[in-house]
Amino acid sequence: MKGKRGDWVSNLGLVLGVLTGITLAVGLYLGLVYAPMDAIQGNAQRIFYIHVPMAWVAFLAFFVVFVAGVMYLWKRDLIWDQVARSSAEIGLVFTTLVLITGSFWGRPIWGTWWTWDARLTTTLLLWFIFLGYFMLRAYAGERSRAATFSAVIGIIGFFDVPIIYLSVDWWRTLHPQAVISVTGASMPGQMVVALMVCLLGFTLLYGYLMVQKLGIERAKDQLIDYQYALSEREAEGVIAV
């Protein structure tokens, strides 16, 4: 029974992996070759085709962390913690990539690597919240404690991020929505197609990474269970002697 389940999961992983590879390759071609060069921003604009999908994956990942956190606190089933921590790790990696690719774009276009705009500041703080999430896990000790505490941080983070955005936006409206409206309003059809394919590719990538990561996290928990059972056996053996 177990073996069958394992086969099913690894098949899903394989299918997702192949689909991700194909879609991302097509997306890359569309973004780098097919889509026209931006009249104002030049080739720098092309980073948009990976930057935006990465941001989307990060937010999707943190939304999954939130839902899994609620489910864990409610049901107390370890599977929800495995989902949450797998998704949180993917989210943290993609948030890092979003910050880096954004900086690369900002340097030629804005003339600076960083600005304290609401979108940037919020992303940075989101990054710090989830850095704290993993620090907390590392220092929590017991498995169930780590799961509960990080579920709470995942939930708080989810509600906090819109408020952070709002407060930073009110605080300093230096770089308004120009970033989005420049590309959003007057975007040619080819650009939309390239973006959509890349979005699909990155979403598939998230699914693929989730399947892999979830497998690793389940194996880790199983290992802990085996080690615990083994040490109990040993303790019994000592008592018997």
Partner: protein, 223 residues
């Protein structure tokens, strides 16, 4: 409901009584807050024309630092003496315990603020005796204490608890810091008509985070 309030007030009374007898929290927090404000005087120019703007920031950073100190200490005291286990054995629900600890923390931090604000006003020659300022102090401190009480309990049961609390709390608390500093600056520069959005933001944050902390406290404190 009356019964619940009675239980909460007994828990708060316990914290106050402990503080009166041990004087573990208040002195340290107060001196730390004032020293931070004084140190900021050397970091920024707090005597010039825009001292209201930088002063408001300095004041809130000082209160937040002192607050971290107080939150960490108050929960460490409970743990070290084993009184947290005692509290959990009490026939009251966890939400009541949360409210008790929350109000206790709120009182200590507010007391530190109420005494340091006049000193702050005197040192930097600002008119701090304005009702609106005390409203902002209250709203900002409620948000701080609400999320702080929850996170302090979590941080206390991890290794490196002193580091964990600020690392977790700073990014989550940012909206409160921004809104409080902005509102304080507006008050100190007599622009109170632009105050409403910031007060709303603080109020919304307070309500939301009090509710979340109240709901999840049970799960957290049992670990």
């Amino acid at each position: 409901m009356r019964d619940g309030l009675g239980k909460v007030s007994i828990l708060v009374w316990k914290d106050l009584l402990t503080e009166v007898r041990t004087k573990d929290l208040f002195g340290g927090m107060f001196i730390f807050a004032v020293l931070t404000i004084i140190t900021f005087n050397f970091a920024f120019d707090l005597s010039g024309a825009n001292r209201a703007a930088s002063g408001a920031g300095a004041m809130w950073v000082a209160f937040n630092f002192a607050g971290f100190l107080g939150l960490g200490r108050s929960i460490a005291l409970e743990r070290d003496r084993g009184s947290l286990d005692g509290l959990l054995l009490c026939p009251v629900d966890r939400g009541t315990i949360f409210m008790g600890k929350f109000i206790g923390n709120l009182l200590f931090i507010s007391l530190v603020e109420v005494i340091s604000v006049p000193i702050f006003g005197a040192l930097f020659n600002l008119n701090v005796f304005q009702p609106a300022l005390f409203l902002v102090l209250l709203l900002g401190t409620v948000g701080f204490a609400a999320i702080g009480t929850l996170l302090a309990v979590m941080a206390a049961s991890t290794r490196s608890r002193e580091v964990m609390l600020p690392v977790l709390m700073f990014p989550i608390l940012l909206p409160v810091v921004i809104a409080s500093v902005r509102a304080t600056t507006l008050i100190l520069t007599d622009q109170t008509r632009d105050l409403a959005p910031w007060l709303n933001l603080l109020g919304a944050y307070d309500v939301l985070f009090l509710a979340i902390s109240y709901l999840v406290f049970e799960r957290v404190v049992e670990e």
